[in-house]
Symmetry: C2
Subunit: 312 residues, 2 copies
DNA sequence: ATGTTTTGATAGATAAAACCTATGACATTC
DNA sequence: GAATGTCATAGGTTTTATCTATCAAAACAT
């Protein structure tokens, strides 16, 4: 058994097609075929059912492919150990980020980062907190950018900044007349919310103290899939919604008029880098942390007049 | 990087000597040297300091060797997956067993087992419960034979049998006159105990209800290292000790006169096979379980008139 | 139904590698 | 200072991985 055979095996499972898998591995189809056969001979079991189209792994093939993926992941860590020991900022890093941060935070630091560290291969994926933590624990992700605290003792949190919640409302709302608003000013029946799964949803319900109410008492008919949709809803249909501070950056002047900050203590969310307790790639993660903090205004780095809202 | 290189690396770390490591790997010294060098070149770091004698791994070498050992362990699991899927009772199995069971239980089933399953390579190691569980969790052991319940939710327990505690005492003890004894009959000042670390010690203290007493109140000057030593102590110096049932098997007739069973409910310990929740080698472990139960008397397989004593 | 395309296996040649024997360099020991 | 122990290097051999070319079978299309 060789690492190359395991790579071919995993590629074949991914593509379910000998020629395509081979191309992906930069070898010819006979080469990949032969090596998969050799592995099958060595183990004494058929790993793929080639009579089906596309080819499918056998029952035992699936188990072995799973272990092969683990082995390839663990073997990649050897280079990571070297990089980390050298302090080199190099290698692949898989970053998960929640959807309510991604479109506002990523553009701020990503360009700088990839220019400054051309040896780092960055893989970013947008995930809900729950999916992200699950992938982190399965070692399918190196680091996450999420709202904390999580209260998961397998995971280390490095707080990055504190982001205020602000209200975004139409002229027709009563609260539009106020300079600073309070949670009581928000009419739950005019409130636009994100769909289930976004951690910000739970926090907004907490701000408005709607937690205890039975959900069927209210009628959240329209649930948006993104912060951007929430804004459009307010603009087209009126009402009110709650946005994270970073999403205000690219508002037009007209849109800015519809923003109202909260009275102190301002409801706030804590944004952190999270990773497994015993993680590698510390130097890359450290570099990323520095790059993010470089583009975050000083006043957001400390939580002075804010009140961090609980999750879920 | 190849598996062979990792094997050579690990062998070199084990032997700290190129020629010996090479011999262990069934290759010549230059072959092993070259491959270790190639790995060093590929990673771009020196893994061993050859100027020292014996050779020692560098700081980063140690980290990489650790990961190499993990990789080799995980790669061995591929064959285990095949064996388990086939239901073949084959492969290596690493068994840990506590010292108060090992000399009495192992001879009962081991001969049968290795004759019946010649394809199984058995590695048995004697360890205290604590060491055993630690190794099990680090995947350095496949299965343990210990006294349960452990209350560790990473570990699955398969109870095998219930073993009575019995008293072993000299003629000079008052309790010698009784047919069945009670815990109150045991004079703590005449009691011989095993040294710290053996789970049976805690159980015996529990039987005699000596737990609450401050340890310095009593004077356990003589602490034995094995059950056999305990017997000798009673025989030579008088006093009383408590033995597990299986250790009575090879007593002489004269020694048997010094054994007293407890009144019902008899103090008892539960002996189990333990393993990690998600374990491979199920078929080997199942076979071992069957072989053990074959040599255990029926009446020990159920706990009818016994009272299982708590651990620790 | 029959020709065409797709897909994976096979054969033979070639290039890469792993390995062996023999020997060299360096340090330690007697 | 010769002998020994230890690891590296050199050159040749065997093994293995890969390539190109081709075949056989199945799927698809006309």
């Amino acid at each position: 058994m060789t690492f190359v055979q395991l790579e071919y095996l995993v590629a074949l499972d991914t593509y379910r097609h000998f020629a395509m898998a081979a191309e992906n591995c930069c070898v010819t189809q006979p080469t990949l075929s032969m090596q998969v056969q050799k592995l099958e001979d060595e183990l004494g079991v058929k790993l793929f059912d080639r009579s089906k189209q596309p080819v499918v792994p056998t029952e035992i093939g699936q188990l072995i492919i799973k272990q092969a993926r683990l082995l390839l992941r663990e073997s990649a860590k050897i280079k990571d150990i070297v990089d980390e020991h050298r302090g080199t900022v190099a290698g692949e890093i898989r970053v998960g980020i929640i959807p309510t941060l991604a479109p506002y935070l990523l553009p701020l630091f990503l360009d700088n980062f990839i220019k400054k560290y051309p040896q780092v291969k960055l893989k970013v994926i947008e995930l809900t907190t729950e999916q992200l933590i699950s992938k982190l624990n399965k070692d399918l992700l190196d680091v996450g950018i999420v709202v904390t605290p999580l209260q998961d003792d397998r995971i280390t949190e490095y707080p990055l900044f504190y982001e205020e919640f602000v209200a975004y409302l139409s002229e027709s709302e009563k609260a539009y007349q106020k300079e600073f608003i309070l949670s009581e000013d928000i009419d739950p029946n005019h409130l636009w919310l994100l769909e289930e799964g976004h951690c910000i949803r739970g926090q907004i319900l907490n701000i408005c103290e709607l937690r205890k109410q039975n959900s069927h008492m209210r009628n959240f008919e329209y649930e948006a899939g993104s912060i951007e949709t929430l804004k459009r809803m307010v603009e087209h249909y009126g009402g009110i919604t709650i946005l994270p501070e970073l999403s205000l950056r690219d508002l037009t002047e007209k849109q800015r008029l519809q923003v109202r900050h909260f009275h102190v203590p301002t409801p706030t969310r804590e944004v952190s880098l999270v990773m497994l307790r015993h993680h590698l790639k510390k130097s890359i993660i450290e570099a990323m942390k520095t790059e993010i903090l470089n583009v975050i205004p000083e006043k957001m780095k400390q939580n002075i007049s804010g009140k961090v809202i609980e999750l879920g």
